[in-house]
């Protein structure tokens, strides 16, 4: 099977405080640069990681006020894929119940927000959301 082995893995724990998503984006950059990902792809990964962190900061209500990240470089032999997991211990949510944002509606609505998950999905190659009463884990990956 391709991309099955974890070649290296870094873990990062962040407090849920303003600007701490930047630390996550820098770790993502370090791992992606190590894999020699193109700078445009690195930028996309950075933005997706920022969005996932902010979601945990804002919506999880996790009592430990922490976000747990792992950055794994996967591949057989050569680095092929960067897989990032962003986890919180909050109350979780039902991804299928999140309404897909549409610009026409947002333009008329009070609530302009609600773009994070759509952006993550648009920027990454694969996205999985596991969420329940123990919290939320978003696993996203991008091929080199």
């Amino acid at each position: 099977m391709a991309n099955s082995a974890i070649l290296r893995e870094v873990t990062l724990t962040l407090p849920m405080l303003p600007d701490m998503e930047i630390a996550a984006s820098k770790t993502a950059t370090a791992m992606a640069e190590y894999m020699q990902m193109s700078s445009d792809k690195i930028d996309e990964v950075r933005m997706a990681v920022v969005e996932a962190c902010i979601n945990s900061f804002e919506h999880s209500d996790a009592t430990d006020r922490k976000v747990y990240l792992t950055f794994a470089v996967l591949g057989d032999d050569e680095p092929e894929k960067l897989q990032i997991s962003i986890r919180d211990t909050g109350h979780g949510f039902e991804p299928t119940e999140v309404e897909e944002p549409r610009i026409e509606e947002k333009l008329r609505s009070e609530r302009k927000r609600g773009w994070g998950l759509k952006i993550i999905q648009g920027l990454m190659d694969e996205v999985e959301i596991h969420s329940g009463r123990d919290g939320t884990r978003v696993v996203m990956s991008k091929l080199r």
């Binding site: 930047i22 933005m47 610009i103 302009k112 609600g114 648009g122």
Partner: protein, 116 residues
Amino acid sequence: MTLKVTVDRKPEGVAVIYTEGYINNQGGEEIARVAFDLIGDGHKVLLLNLEGTKIVNSIGISILIEIIEKMLEIEGKLAFCNLTPTIEKTFHIMGLTQYAAIHADEVSAVAEMAGR
């Protein structure tokens, strides 16, 4: 992490808003404040030059939708230039590009917008 926002009112009638830094919550609000001030002063054609911004988040960007909404109301125009490829891609994902044009650079943006 405070966003710096400056303005240049071009003789061609386009007001250019420059940003430097991270467009997050506060960054988006700061841009909106400056944009609404310009609109209050009678400017109907605004260009957001994001050359100095390499990172944004969706909260910051959603605030920009308020400016677009206002522009539809007053029949004005908002456009963007000097976006990183990822910011441009994000604007496409959101569908913003249906309501706000994206130009490669400021010169071509101002020429196009002034000539409307």
